[in-house]
């Protein structure tokens, strides 16, 4: 059934501050964050279920090779090589039927952008002295500020190259892990951790946690929705804020009590189904030729990267 236009239009509500842009209060911020988190995890499963290149590779092989690539990226100190690996992540995202714009947005928003903000002051001669590219300001005397001293403000070649190396390393690492989790079901990622000799108990706790996170997030979402639907205007005075702080603290306490009680109930449920502290899981992964080719490819990529970095 098609939704009529008038139903899908949003109208501003003049009487209250609910859903009307502008500054969001803490209730709305929490709801937006939760919605974002839910959406991201749903999107991940969507790509993991489509039939692309990386989806066809055994999760254990994929986990180990991608972790090795992240470790390699950490050791490499030439930006060209790291950017080469980054280009390959884009290629494999494309081959795995992940929309490139979505992939780039998912990777770059937040962490590499933040790394850029962190690295920005370091492109200037104040932090990284060196050959000036652009001089912005010149002083007649040496200026002492905090632990720095300088006579001019300019962007240095060394600083810019260092920032490029730093940001590309951060972005490539994030791309690699996003590529892994987008193309693999989380159940398989967690199961594959066993091959890295992560103790069974950790893997079990990890997979139970991942499931219960969504339950608790749902609880938190409902608390905030209930609060939002009863709020006309947030009291921004000192007294009002104090009341809201008490509300948040009481909700955190309630979630804590709920999860504590729930762990008791889950425990009883597990024991009554035969849980004795030992877990056996069915592993139905199978190594195929495509996995061997992928392993060969990634290992030669790692050797090539290390060779280009240290020997050439």
């Amino acid at each position: 059934m098609e939704i009529p236009d008038w139903l899908s239009q949003t109208s501003t509500c003049p009487c209250c501050n609910i859903g009307v842009g502008g500054k969001k209060n803490f209730v709305e911020k929490t709801l937006v964050e939760i919605a974002g988190m839910m959406e991201r995890s749903i999107f991940s499963e969507k790509y993991a279920n489509s039939k692309g290149f990386l989806q066809s590779i055994d999760p254990r092989v994929k986990l180990i090779t991608i972790l090795l690539l992240i470790v390699t990226t950490s050791f490499i100190s030439k930006a060209e090589i790291i950017l080469g690996i980054y280009a390959l992540t884009l290629l494999f995202a494309y081959l795995s039927k992940v929309e490139l714009i979505f992939f780039i947005k998912r990777v770059w928003l937040f962490i590499p952008v933040f790394a850029g903000i962190v690295a920005f002051p370091a492109i200037f001669n104040i932090v990284t002295p060196g050959e000036p590219l652009v001089t912005l300001l010149r002083f007649n005397e040496t200026i002492h500020f905090w632990t720095f001293q300088f006579t001019e403000i300019s962007i240095t070649k060394e600083g810019a190259l260092g920032a490029l190396l730093f940001i590309s390393r951060v972005a490539t690492s994030v791309s690699l892990i996003v590529l892994l989790t987008l193309t693999t079901k989380w159940v398989d990622v967690l199961k594959s951790l066993r091959t890295l000799r992560v103790p069974q108990i950790f893997v079990l706790v990890l997979s139970m946690t991942y499931q219960y996170i969504f339950l608790l997030v749902r609880v938190v979402q409902e608390m905030h929705l209930a609060k939002k639907s009863r709020t006309i205007k947030t009291d921004m005075t000192r007294k009002g804020i104090k009341k809201e702080q008490n509300w948040v603290a009481s909700r955190i306490g309630t979630v804590l009590m709920k999860s504590y009680k729930m762990s008791d109930e889950i425990h009883s449920a597990m024991v009554s189904r035969g849980f004795r502290g030992e877990i056996k899981s069915i592993e139905n992964f199978k190594i195929r030729n495509v996995d061997r080719i992928w392993t060969g490819f990634s290992l030669s990529l790692i050797f090539a990267a290390v060779w280009l970095n240290y020997i050439v």
């Binding site: 500054k23 139970m208 946690t209 008490n246």
Partner: protein
């Protein structure tokens, strides 16, 4: 305080993996012995809670919001060793599935937020609230101070780990290799924000939640007392 990949050089993150692996093994053995089969669901719920607590936006004056890490709070309710595992599990999930914190830096982040923060916060809480009645105000005062000190110690440690990169990896051809600011910048930068803002958010959240638990379900605050009594009894009998 989640350090991403690429900020720390291999020496630092490998060293912290070597520190964390024995700590994790010890914690897992200890919890299995103390809690028997109960440890799996308790740790899973603890980890899910420590993940969810960061979703709560906490209103601060002027319309801004912050969120708590909750390490001290979890340590008060579950005990510090369970908090260590719970926070570690939450951090692994954040690093793997939500891109928050790096993969190579997992051990570093777990050391700062899973070991240092809950243990410092918890023992300060124990010190202040020692032998006090469950309804005593010393519980929430201790929780507040513990939360404040715990997060600040962890933040300064993170600042140190970042700042030490310029010493471990001096610039090559004038080009910095990993995190680029020296200790004299990174430590004050981390300490400043936490001493003035995040430390207070953590302290107020921990304090208010403990006060709420005192009024509604004080048995949760006694839970760790019991664990300690069992521990003491075992030591005496041994």
């Amino acid at each position: 305080m989640h350090i991403p990949d690429g900020y720390l050089g291999p020496i630092t993150w490998i060293a912290l993996w070597l520190v964390m692996i024995p700590i994790w093994i010890f914690a897992a053995r200890k919890l299995k012995k103390d809690l028997k089969t109960k440890n799996v669901p308790l740790l899973a719920m603890g980890a899910a809670f420590s993940f969810v607590i960061m979703m709560f936006n906490f209103p601060v004056l002027g319309g801004t919001t912050g969120h708590a890490v909750g390490g001290t709070l979890i340590a008060i309710v579950l005990g510090p060793w369970a908090a260590l595992v719970a926070v570690s599990v939450a951090l692994v999930i954040q690093a793997l599935f939500f891109g928050d914190g790096g993969i190579t830096a997992i051990a570093t982040n777990c050391f700062n937020m899973g070991v240092v923060l809950p243990f410092v916060g918890y023992y300060i809480y124990r010190l202040v609230s020692a032998k006090a009645d469950v309804s005593s105000s010393r519980h929430w005062i201790g929780a507040g101070i513990g939360g404040y000190v715990g997060i600040n110690v962890a933040a300064v440690l993170a600042g140190f780990e970042l700042g030490v990169q310029t010493i471990l990896y001096p610039p090559v051809d004038g080009k910095f290799q990993y995190f680029m600011y020296p200790l004299s910048v990174s430590v004050p930068a981390m300490a400043f924000g936490h001493l003035l803002i995040f430390g207070f958010v953590e302290a107020i959240v921990t304090l208010l939640v403990v006060r709420y638990l005192q009024q509604t379900d004080p048995s949760l605050l006694r839970a760790s007392d019991k664990a300690i009594q069992i521990e003491k009894a075992k030591k005496v009998s041994a």
